[in-house]
Amino acid sequence: MLKVDSISKTFRSLRNVVRALTGVSLEVKPGEIVALLGRNGSGKTTTIRTVCGLVIPDEGSVSINGLRFGQPNYMAQLGALIDTNRVLFPRLSPFENLVYTCAVRGMRRPEARERAKYLLDLLGLWEKRNAPAQTLSKGMVSKMAFAVAIAHDPPFVLLDEPTLGLDIDAAEVLEAQILGMAKAGKGILLTTHQLEVAERLCTRVAILSGGRIVVDKAKEELLEMFDLQSYRVTFKEPVNLPELPFQHTLDESGRVLEVILDHPEQLYELMRRLHPRPLRSIEKREVELAEIFRSYTARKESHSA
């Protein structure tokens, strides 16, 4: 199991002090895909870099299968994609880049070549195996970044925005690989801004806001919880809304209101406030992860504001 245990991190420089993480805890079990979501600057990358040992936290610790950072074999448990744009030795071909990555982690040369060939095949890059790294397109480089991250077949994989800037085909290839890896028992932690990607892939959702984890739940549980709180209210005619203390949107016709309550009981409060506007219907509706995300990050920001 990969365990992040209440890490805090403040970056200090001469000019400013940035509190990036506050008491962040997370777990990734084998076979799980955990989506770490958050707006820009919420601390996703810092969390991932801390697990990789690229950032030393002020407080807290990280362990993988009981090994702490700094112990031998900690790194062998881990593969990470940190930057999809910059990952290749420019003077080596894709094939050589992968052989090197495997070899430097201790694979014998024939084994490393096999693995490199397998990965290039898997991601549809075999044709480009000998092309100079500088001639690869952005999408190909992103795929290579993924290949480098999983080159040594580690039990835990961290992916920071893996599908950023990929076209649909390439993203599909990558998503299929991620699902396959989880099925094979790997634990995966990924960040993304594309919430539909997270919704398709993940089994668990953790949301960071202002450097704190504001929710950490199994995806099904989270969606179910929100199902009890999400309603669509249809009016007989366009209405002007009163002040509503919940997250809500009124569509352009002015007749369909979608709300997310903080509690199912607030339904009474909603009805009271909408009275006496003429209702046609009120029904529960399914929410998307994007709305849940917005509800958590907006709420947090209004608290801190």
Partner: protein, 250 residues
């Protein structure tokens, strides 16, 4: 130990690929360095040194080549750090599970072969051209080894600065301005400085004179000290860079 062997194997392979793919660079480097030597000789002549004096030319030649060797070690680690930061491969170095110190020292050693080859070719060509006689002995190996390790120790200090401050090109220029004259001129006031001491031992050996045990011990002690300081500072800088979250940033 096994880990270091793995790392060295991978790095040597990469060095081979990167150098072989650009053989022109090797040849051009050779020609360029040869030309600079003649430039140096010309400057020496202008300032009144007789170029027919084999003693002076010998001193200039050995100093120049050792200066090149020292500079490669001195700036090599820092240059490699900024290269890896630019290509984004520094993070993967860390993820490979080898410490950064082990990584960059191994890398420098893995890239030593072409540099040594370069130095030896230039030495043979230029001594032949200038009709200089020299003597070879087995003691040359530890002497050059210690000279190089001391330079590598200083290279780690420069590398430590590169990890924290990124832009240190001006520093390189200054280092170059200091190292070459120090190694070539062999001033008595600078005799204690590790690189100058190593260079004078090597020069004595090439001229066929024996080197007293005292100088060997001093050289060994200084080299060990410089290497230890280098490793220590590099490790400290590595830790500091991770605390500031700078590692791998350009």
């Amino acid at each position: 130990m096994r880990k270091l062997a793995i790392l060295f194997g991978a790095e040597a392979w990469r060095a081979w690929l990167e150098e072989v793919r650009y053989p022109l660079q090797f040849v051009m480097g050779l020609v360029f360095m040869g030309l600079i030597f003649f430039l140096l000789k010309g400057v020496a002549q202008l300032s009144g040194v007789s170029s027919s004096n084999p003693e002076t030319i010998f001193r200039l030649l050995v100093g120049y080549l050792l200066g090149l060797l020292a500079m490669s070690a001195l700036s090599g680690i820092a240059a490699q750090i900024s290269r890896e930061a630019k290509s984004g491969t520094l993070e993967n170095m860390v993820l490979s599970g080898h410490g950064l110190t082990a990584f960059f020292v191994t890398q420098a050693l893995a890239r030593l072969a072409p540099i040594l080859l370069n130095t030896v070719i230039l030495f043979l060509v230029l001594t032949n051209h200038n009709k200089i006689n020299f003597s070879l002995s087995w003691e040359m190996l530890p002497a050059i080894g210690l000279f190089y390790i001391a330079a590598l120790g200083l290279g780690l200090v420069v590398g430590a600065l590169a990890l924290l401050f990124k832009e240190i090109r001006t520093f390189f220029m200054l280092a170059q301005l200091l190292v070459f004259p120090a190694v070539i001129a062999n001033l008595p006031q600078l005799e204690w400085f590790p690189l100058v001491l190593g260079a004078s031992v090597i020069r004595d050996l090439l001229q066929g004179s024996a080197v007293e045990a005292y100088w060997w011990i001093l050289l060994l002690a200084e080299t060990t000290a410089v290497l230890c300081v280098g490793v220590l500072l590099f490790e400290l800088a590595d830790r500091e860079a991770r605390k500031r979250g700078l590692l791998g940033h350009e």
